[in-house]
Amino acid sequence: MSEIALAAVAEPADDLAEDVPEKRVHPAVATFKRLFHHRLFITGLVLFGVIAIAAALAPWITTANPNRLAMRSKFLPPGEDWIFGTDSFGRSLWARTLYGAQLSMMIGGSVVLINAIFGTLVGAVAGYFRAADNALMRVNDALMAFPAILLAIAVTAVLGPSTMNVIIALGIVYVPRTARIVRASVIVLREMEYVQAAVAAGAGHWRILRRHILPNAMAPMIVQLSFLFAYAVLSEATLSFLGVGAVPPTPTWGGMMAEGRDFMRDAPWIIAIPGVALMITVMGLNMLGDGLRDVLDPRLRIQQ
């Protein structure tokens, strides 16, 4: 019994010894390989990809103007002529959903970009320079103490409702959260021996941050940014549902659902179509984030 088991173990071990030097791959390639074998990641990528591509190709997929009123063709259910049906103003829901996707992607992408820049900057400075840490983190804590949606609403109230101001509001709400995560990794990395070696070799602060610390702090940040994209899309939809987001008649998923509320008995598709689109986007991003976290940073369990 034990001999058979030993033999079974011994054979592949021989193969392995010969194979290993040849199969050595670049770490980035290995990471991509692992990502593309991660089922959740692939599912998320497909879900999010469908919406992102639809948003990018909106002007080519539909020739209809999302804001064109046609009172004679209102409340048409989804069917042959109108793929997704029409709303209470006779506007094409297919066109409005596609252009709504464009707006969601644009706002989500901008919030992610703002966070990647300012979240990294604030987090890196707070984590690396002890003198700045306390002051920056107190402001950070204060901004995070506000309930997210309430702060976003208050900021849009002050700046006025517009697409640009929604981006600014969500930036103000979420940058402190990203900064916190970057700071946490920078604090750990700062104490690493290779950083001390870089200091001893005479490297300046900015060089150490740029070359030695930030590249190693990327993994948790990338994970955070994919979840953040989901939060941003969801928050934008919430703001426009409440009527404090982009101004009508701009097609937004949240706004479309708010308009559909009065007709939900007879025309439930007006709510269902943007709702499902929103859910696919958010779920795709969450799955993407889960996959990235599993592959890039298995220790990071609790998001937010």
Partner: protein, 314 residues
């Protein structure tokens, strides 16, 4: 123990100070003339001047700030323009609605989140685990107002089982309150329940890998005792720290839930204040709610220290 409380309160002070500074600055950041923005488009110059004088906007910046903090220390946050009453009164009038909704949603969150997280961890990589985690994924991805709308269509419009909206005070009609709050609470709880289930599962899995669990199993304790006395008791401690986040998410979520189900809570009060450009109300309400949340977080941290002696002796 008293040291923990004092330290935590002391560290909350600068946060509250900055929170109040941010809310104070909000109205001053309105582009152009805030008084004109409050008065609206149809206002005459006299009306604008009146508002400016009422709100003290014609005073120098530092004087405005001094009077804001002076009033704050006396427990006054100004008067709501739309409601014509003190902001503090307006907020506390609406608070029971939001607190009731949040408490109901919290019970659902803890029940669903903890149970499914624990079961998923104990049955890791089985069908049960996968189904629980699929539901958790739907929970964190399904927008609460979409779920709310779907429930209204099904349970209110078509089946007629539950009211589609409106508020019934608990003390006058508990059963009516329960019926009115069930759909709002379920739609509000979904996100947090999903988050909690995911966190509970991974925390539980971490604990189950520990040496003391293996020891407990090895010395022949019944599995039930290992799970409850050794695993769960230790897993719940780190989970308490996310309760603060969950409450904050719940207050955020109640804004849209209250709007959807026409519940006259804090969220609706502030949304209407924003839409009606009632800036003193927005400012004061935001500050009050945030201050309450900061206090809740202090309580959570104190509870954490009570549960985990390591935190106390740090």
């Amino acid at each position: 123990m008293i040291g923990v409380v004092l330290r935590r309160v002391a560290s909350a002070m600068p946060v509250l100070l900055i929170v109040s500074l941010i809310t104070f600055s909000l109205m001053r950041l309105i582009p152009g003339d805030p008084a004109a923005a409050i008065a609206g488009l149809a206002a005459t110059p006299q009306m604008i001047a009146q508002i400016r004088a009422d709100l003290g906007l014609d005073e120098p910046f530092l004087v405005q700030m001094a009077s804001w903090y002076g009033n704050l220390l006396q427990g006054s946050l100004g008067r709501s323009i739309l409601l014509g009453k003190p902001v503090v009164d307006a907020t506390f009038e609406r608070l029971p609605v939001t607190l009731g909704l949040s408490a109901y949603a919290m019970v659902l969150t803890l029940l669903i989140g903890l149970l499914s997280g624990i079961i998923a961890a104990l049955r890791q990589n089985t069908m049960i685990d996968q189904i629980a985690m699929a539901f958790a994924m739907i929970g964190i991805s399904l927008p609460s107002f979409f779920l709310g709308l779907l429930m209204i269509i099904l349970f209110a419009v078509h089946l007629g089982w539950l009211p589609s909206g409106g508020y019934v005070p608990f003390w006058s009609d508990p059963w009516g309150w329960f019926r009115a709050m069930t759909m709002p609470a379920v739609s509000l709880a979904m996100l947090q329940a999903g988050l909690l289930a995911r966190i509970t599962r991974s925390t539980m899995l971490e604990v189950l890998r520990q040496d003391y669990i293996r020891t407990a199993r090895a010395k022949g304790l019944p599995p039930r005792r290992v799970i409850f006395r050794h695993a769960l008791a230790n897993a719940l401690i780190p989970i308490t720290t996310v309760i603060g986040i969950i409450i904050s998410l719940m207050i955020s979520g109640s804004v849209v839930t209250e709007a959807l189900f026409s519940l006259p809570g804090i969220g609706q009060l502030l949304t209407q204040a924003v839409l009606g450009r009632d800036y003193p109300m927005v400012q004061g309400g935001l500050l009050l709610v945030t201050a309450l949340l900061v206090m809740v977080n202090i309580l959570v941290d104190v509870a954490y220290a009570l549960l985990d002696p390591r935190v106390r002796y740090e």
